[in-house]
């Protein structure tokens, strides 16, 4: 856990034109392999979207926690 290198943290709890996945995909584009992007989302459906996106793009969810009604997910860039 402490060895995770978080390149960027995104608060995606509010409306955003690119959407949580758009913001995440942009940040992951710039992350280096083995670096992570942290994203905070406000609802379980978006959390599921993040998990599906990570699986589809071959990246790895390394943290997925519910904290005070929000979801903190850390995705590691695999390649």
């Amino acid at each position: 856990m402490s060895s995770l290198k978080v390149y960027k943290s995104i608060d995606a709890t509010s409306s955003s034109c690119s959407g949580p996945i758009g913001e995440l995909s942009g940040a992951m584009n710039d992350a280096l392999p083995s670096e992570c992007v942290e994203i905070i989302v406000g609802d379980p459906a978006t959390r599921d979207d993040v998990r599906v996106w990570a699986a589809k793009t071959g990246n790895r969810v390394v943290v997925d926690k519910e904290e005070q009604g929000k979801f903190r997910i850390i995705v590691e860039k695999v390649k």
Binding site: Y7, K8, I10, D11, A12, S14, S15, S16, C17, S18, G19, P20, I21, G22, E23, S25, G26, N29, D30, D49, W53, K56
Partner: protein, 384 residues
């Protein structure tokens, strides 16, 4: 003497400087405060007009004015080498320009914008039309007007980019343009987007999916642009899909300004870490960040910068006067979305209230055109 410096004289920098001058008018006239804008260009470009130029709705000359004409006369303007910022030193409260002069500030506003990266995707600049620059919009208009049939591919290379609704708009405008020209049956329109769907906000996505379906627009998502093969007229996605085109209309990747990187202020894409409510540079209470420059996941739009200018100008005035309570930015955004050559809808939202776009109509189209026409006389000069 206190100095308020505004880095960048585009939509955000101009509007905020004008509002600050209005709020600190007395202090400026007593010689206690200066407000200065720095921009490399003497001209102020109204980029939303580029979309309309690319479809022949607006004239190129309507999209720019000399910045001096738009700025409040109490605001100092530096352009050319005197206005090109080469380094921002937040530790020493300094901004350095290309003529070697060091400008000291008490409060700094960063509004250096977002910038298209035509060379980030291999083949992009050779193969793609893009309306994200004035020259590109002019060139694209010629391509649109001479197009007689075939495959038009609209592609978004990377999120986030400025004017997130522009790809939807250009797609629906192209569809309507060729319908009105009577050759839509000869034109296949494809829309490629790097995430599932066509837009990031769920109910806008839903509405647009319905419109795209009813207009016969082919959707390719998730499609993340890997390269453009201009010689063979095809694009390839990171997901492995290949698509042939006769005309490629693409939105290039964006980055924050180079000076942000040179000053060590941003992330790898030069977006500046900004508190979403106070609009302050994180860990600095004398630097505000606004418009496209921020890393706030919201909307890189002129309207965002305009709304943010109320918060920033108010708080700068409080900082300078040393008196009064601060405002926070509620995340307000308002964007018209053209859905054809004579109809539009809009989205209005903030951090807590997602948008509910109304049914497209001609009234909103006229609203969009009126906003563009009135930008110079009303919005930029902050008459409202």
């Amino acid at each position: 003497m206190k100095n308020v410096l505004v880095a960048g004289g585009g939509i955000g920098g101009t509007i905020v400087a004008n509002r600050i001058a209005q709020k600190l008018g007395e202090e400026i006239s007593r010689g206690e405060v200066t407000v200065s804008v720095f921009d490399r260009s003497e001209h102020h470009y109204y980029q939303p007009g580029f979309l309309l130029v690319s479809m022949g709705v607006m004239e190129p000359k309507e999209t720019s004015l000399p910045e001096r004409e738009v700025l409040d006369r109490r605001v100092k303007l530096y352009t050319g080498d005197k206005g090109t910022i080469t380094k921002i030193n937040v530790g020493d409260r300094q901004l350095i320009t290309a003529d070697g002069v060091i400008h000291r500030y008490d409060v700094l506003v960063l509004a250096t914008g977002s910038h298209i990266q035509m060379d980030e995707v291999p083949g992009f600049s050779q193969g793609a039309e893009t309306f994200f620059s004035l020259d590109g919009a002019r060139k694209m208009l010629r391509a649109v007007q001479s197009f007689t049939g075939g495959d038009i591919v609209v592609d978004v290379a990377l999120l986030p980019h400025k004017c997130p609704v522009a790809p939807l708009e250009i797609t629906l405008m192209l569809d309507d343009y060729f319908r009105k020209k009577g050759i839509r049956d000869k034109v296949n329109i494809h829309y490629c987007y790097p995430i599932q769907g066509v837009f990031g906000i769920p109910n806008v996505n839903k509405m647009m999916l319905g419109l795209f379906e009813s207009r016969g627009i082919n959707i390719h998502s998730q499609f993340t642009l890997a390269s453009v093969d201009a010689a063979n007229k095809k694009i390839v996605s990171k997901e492995g899909e290949e698509l042939r085109y006769d005309m490629l209309v693409a939105i290039p990747p964006h980055k924050g300004a180079q000076v942000i990187a040179d000053s060590g202020l941003g992330d790898r894409r030069n977006w500046v870490p900004t508190d979403k409510y106070t609009l302050r540079l994180k860990d600095h209470d004398d630097v505000y960040v606004m418009g496209d420059t921020t890393d706030i996941p919201i909307s890189k739009a002129g309207s965002t910068a305009d709304y943010e200018s109320y918060t920033v100008s108010h708080n700068v005035a409080v900082d300078i006067k040393g008196d009064g309570s601060k405002k926070t930015y509620p995340g307000s955004v308002f964007c018209y979305i053209a859905t054809g050559m004579d109809q539009a809808t809009y989205i209005k939202f903030d951090y807590n209230n997602p948008p509910t776009p109304p049914t497209p109509s001609q009234i909103h189209w006229w609203g969009k055109l009126a906003y563009n026409k009135l930008y110079w006389s009303i919005h930029a000069r902050t008459l409202i």
